[in-house]
């Protein structure tokens, strides 16, 4: 079937099998490989992207369901001049990543979380990340990065 969607601001049209998952569309058709697959059961969140600005797990969305909609992946998060998004910057400064595999999904999930709740408490961040598994960081610095990103976005200045 034919799908038309916008990926990171770029219009894309492709013929895909009906059963094509959005994550496979992004990785194999759009050749955007930052989005990783970690579980296939919507449990780990490694494949989290934004669909019309809201976070979804792209291993459980068909490419067909994204037809006519806009997808943002990690590759589309930084500014046009390459300036990192506050969440990316905070991950860097707070050592919020180690192996990097869960990172694209974590960053997208937190970007979405902060949009819904710009000043979350630590408990709200932890609850909000329940669907994203990281095996390296013990979440400590991911939570710290999320709170730091909220702080820097709210004060309008990155450190």
């Amino acid at each position: 079937m034919k799908v038309e969607l916008t990926v990171n601001g770029k219009d894309m049209t492709a013929d895909v099998e009906d059963r094509t998952l959005l994550v496979h569309f992004l990785r194999d058709v759009a050749d955007l490989t930052a989005t990783n697959i970690g579980c296939d059961t919507t449990s780990c969140g490694a494949c989290t992207v934004l669909l019309d600005g809201e976070s979804v797990k792209s291993c459980t969305v068909l490419a067909a369901q994204a037809d006519g909609r806009a997808v943002t992946t990690l590759e589309g998060l930084a500014g046009d001049d390459g300036t990192m998004h506050p969440v990316q910057q905070a991950f860097h400064e707070e050592h919020g990543l180690q192996c990097g595999y869960c990172t694209p999904g974590m960053v997208m999930a937190i970007a979405s979380l902060l949009k819904e709740n710009p000043s979350p408490t630590e408990a709200q961040v932890r609850q909000g990340l329940e669907g994203n598994i990281c095996r390296c960081t013990g979440y400590h610095n991911i939570v710290k990065a999320a709170l730091a990103a909220a702080e820097s976005s709210n004060t309008g200045a990155s450190k």
């Binding site: 590759e75 180690q98 595999y101 095996r135």
Partner: protein
């Protein structure tokens, strides 16, 4: 000013944060264009004979390039004759698979021994086609009774390897029959402690791509050590120099990616056999059945002492579940035996082990590999004994600690501890946590009849790191004529931050700024000789190699600089702050690294080093966990986790803390939620992340870390390993905290994971007595 010890943010991050890492599935190498996808047909039965495989329907399916079974494996050399151990004559205690009757085939031959064992490989043009076609491969099984547990293996009614005549594949350790060591003990605790089977669960599972071209096999694989992988891949019938192994970005390992498994060998073979580029990326379902798992030990313990809290005797009898095939022989329980008495000076210690095969996924290293099991049990048993004696766990620990003046100290099980101050570490966490106030609050809640009670759990640990220090690690440091430096290391990053850490070492020694230092790892064409990353060995061995290589480069450069200055070498010095060479006492004259390197042969100054350590190091620490237990539901909430860890001088606090955070979470996960389960027929019950309770952010607090820095003399950096301290310390600390919350109700022990059901049941049982 020294860069060492400062919080340098990672050089690895910007790429990972903006375009994402390049893991095996992300590789877009031209040689992999048009690579076929491999899908394994895996056993659906835990224990069965294979009576036939029919691939005809699969071969007709769209996109199928080949279906490979054991019948196709005619182009492989016979496996080298492996020693055929008898349980009473154990093999050497290295982490190597057992051969002979215990040998693990590449593809199942005529019998399968765990659900998920590879039976056939389907090669297709696309991933989806592979899943469809694998369903069409018909395998006839004749089911056999399953051996799903240690108990069933020991009963021996069914044998996995009938020719062996037993399910016990290795026995070792000392004599544990003499009960007189407990004579005169006023208090004795005795019982079974289960250290349950858990998944390593790196977020990237196993993945391999392979190309056979012009007589050379190139294998990209998600591994902790490319060089060891290359050695194992010679099983495809090629000498090492005809194989190139590349570890691209690796999405976590935790011990389960040391070397390669049978699947990766099969992918390499399939590429050579078919002449097609092949790529395999496992699903999580495959990962939870096929990747080696960890722990899986049953301990029978006996500990005796007096009423005042002096421990007199300890016995540890370990049974290791090896799963369907013994990947590591007796290595894991041997380490558990070695570290059995932990931080205590116990006058009499007996330890022994045996390993059995069961119809489960093979067991191998997982963050700590045999040592967390030792710490989990001795720390649990000390609390158990303290509860029986009516003493505070702190009192008992302090009475029995090996004292600072006793080092170097050789334990009764033969572990040569280098240094330690266990009481200082314990005092540090007690003070930081506010132990006395917490005890008062615990008492208050009990007396007030509250239903949410506090539990305080302690663990004082010592661990062995870089146990194979004699194997050492390699480093090559080059300074180029443009003033940049390149480090080639045999250790292999998969999240730890090697690139940042090693660049810091070079900057420290040579004054070349970090942004001009490139670190390269994980490519056997560039680094044929290397050992890899496991056993908390990288910084102490690999980092020391980089350090020594940088010093050799500096010595060589000093000669060149002297020539260029037309001065005596003794009058030349490196200004590491400015990164330039000078003549002492003449601040106006300087030479850049570029100028010095340009003057060297080929415009390059280079040093190759293999650093070896003649003995391991023994980091130590104490951890204190605070939990809340709802006695009405059994639900446990981890409120606080405070640690004092000592792994010598800290090179980069950011990385050091990150390693501890991750380890603590995995340790807490084992104590609280994670467990791989099988039913009575050996069917896995936890083969997806919907069923396996991987710990999440919502179940953990932020951690409170304290550090002390006692250097070792074993290596020039004075450092010890920190990668595994978290799982070693946190598992018993959290576990003890749960039981501490309900010990006044008469509960003495609850096996891990301390799920609400188990805690609730233990409370009901105790209160019924």
């Amino acid at each position: 000013m020294s860069i060492l010890g400062t919080r340098v943010i990672r050089t690895e991050d910007p790429r990972l944060l903006t375009s994402g890492g390049v893991y095996v599935d992300d590789l877009r190498e031209p040689d992999l264009a048009g690579a076929v996808r491999a899908t394994f047909v895996r056993s659906t039965i835990a224990h069965a004979l294979i009576t036939g495989i029919d691939a005809s329907a699969a071969l007709e399916a769209p996109g199928v390039v080949a279906v490979l079974t054991v019948a196709d494996m005619t182009d492989l050399p016979a496996p080298p004759p492996a020693p055929e151990p008898s349980p009473d004559d154990p093999p050497s205690e290295g982490p190597v698979p057992l051969g002979g009757v215990w040998a693990e085939p590449l593809l199942a031959v005529d019998r399968v021994r765990y659900v998920g064992e590879p039976v056939a490989i389907v090669l297709t043009d696309s991933t989806y086609q592979g899943e469809d076609a694998a369903e069409l491969v018909s395998v006839d099984y004749e089911p056999l009774p399953a051996v799903p547990s240690i108990e069933a293996a020991l009963a021996g009614d069914t044998l996995l390897n009938p020719d062996a005549g037993t399910n016990v594949c290795v026995k070792g350790g000392g004599d544990i029959s003499d009960d007189s060591i407990f004579d005169g003990c006023e208090i004795i605790v005795e019982g079974d402690i289960v250290n349950q089977r858990v998944a390593a669960l790196p977020m990237e599972g196993r993945a391999t791509a392979a190309v056979w071209k012009d007589g050379k096999l190139t294998v990209w694989t998600s591994t902790q050590n490319a060089q060891l992988s290359r050695l194992i891949l010679t099983a495809v019938g090629l000498p090492p120099d005809a194989i190139r192994v590349v570890a691209p970005d690796v999405g976590g390992g935790f011990g389960a990616k040391i070397g390669v498994d049978r699947e990766q060998i099969l992918i390499a073979w399939a590429a050579k056999h078919t002449g097609r580029a092949v790529r395999w990326v496992e699903t999580r379902n495959e990962n939870l059945m096929g990747m080696t798992q960890g722990r899986a030990q049953l301990h029978h313990i006996k500990l005796g002492g007096d009423r005042e809290g002096h421990i007199k005797a300890y016995r540890l009898d370990v049974v290791q579940d090896s799963g369907g095939y013994s990947r590591m022989g007796g290595f894991l329980p041997m380490l558990t035996n070695l570290m059995a008495p932990g931080v205590y000076d116990i006058p009499a210690v007996q330890a022994a082990y045996k390993a059995v095969v069961t119809n489960g996924t093979p067991i191998a290293a997982y963050r700590g590999a045999g040592r967390p099991e030792a710490a989990a049990t001795i720390e649990r048993v000390v609390d158990w004994y303290a509860a029986e004696a009516g003493l505070d766990p702190v009192t008992v620990r302090k009475l029995n600690f090996i004292q600072p003046e006793q080092f170097p100290f050789v334990t009764k099980t033969g572990a040569p501890y280098d240094t330690g101050d266990y009481e200082a570490a314990l005092d540090k966490v007690l003070e930081a946590a506010g132990y006395d106030q917490l005890r008062a609050e615990q008492k208050r809640r009990i007396e007030a009849g509250e239903t949410k009670l506090l539990g305080l759990g302690l663990a004082s640990y010592v661990e062995i790191t870089a146990a194979d220090g004699a194997a050492g690690e390699t480093a090559k440091v080059e300074v180029h004529d443009d003033g940049t430096a390149t480090v080639y290391t045999g250790s292999s990053a998969h999240g730890q931050g090697h690139h940042t850490a090693y660049a810091m070492i070079v900057t420290q020694e040579l004054g070349i700024p970090m942004e001009k230092v490139e670190v390269i790892h994980g490519d056997t064409d560039l680094i044929p000789d290397g050992v890899g990353t496991y056993a908390s060995r990288s910084l102490q061995l690999g980092g020391s190699a980089v350090h020594n290589a940088a010093i050799e480069v500096k010595d060589e450069a000093s000669k060149k600089a002297a020539e260029l200055f037309e001065a005596a070498e003794a009058d030349v010095e490196l200004d590491t702050d400015a990164g330039v060479w000078r003549i002492k006492g003449d601040p106006d004259k300087s030479l850049s690294w570029s100028q010095v390197a340009t003057a060297a042969d080929g415009g390059l100054i280079v040093a190759n080093v293999r650093f070896t350590a003649d003995r391991p190091t023994f980091p130590f620490g104490s951890q204190l966990s605070v939990v809340e237990v709802d006695v009405e539901t059994g639900k446990v909430t981890l409120l606080r986790h405070v640690t004092a860890d000592d792994a010598g001088p800290v090179l980069n606090p950011l990385l050091f803390e990150g390693q501890r955070h991750g380890g603590i979470a995995q340790g807490a996960a084992q104590a609280l939620v994670e467990e791989i389960l099988y039913d009575a027929d050996g069917n896995p019950l936890t083969a997806t992340l919907m069923d396996y309770g991987a710990i999440t952010a919502a179940e953990l607090p932020s951690f409170e870390l304290l550090t002390s820095e006692t250097p070792t003399t074993v290596n020039p950096l004075g450092v010890k390993g920190i990668g595994e301290a978290g799982t070693i310390g946190a598992t018993p600390a959290v576990h003890n905290a749960v039981i501490d919350a309900v010990k006044h109700l008469g509960v003495r022990h609850i096996d891990m994971p301390t799920t609400p059901e188990r805690v609730w049941t233990a409370i009901q049982k105790a209160s019924a007595q």
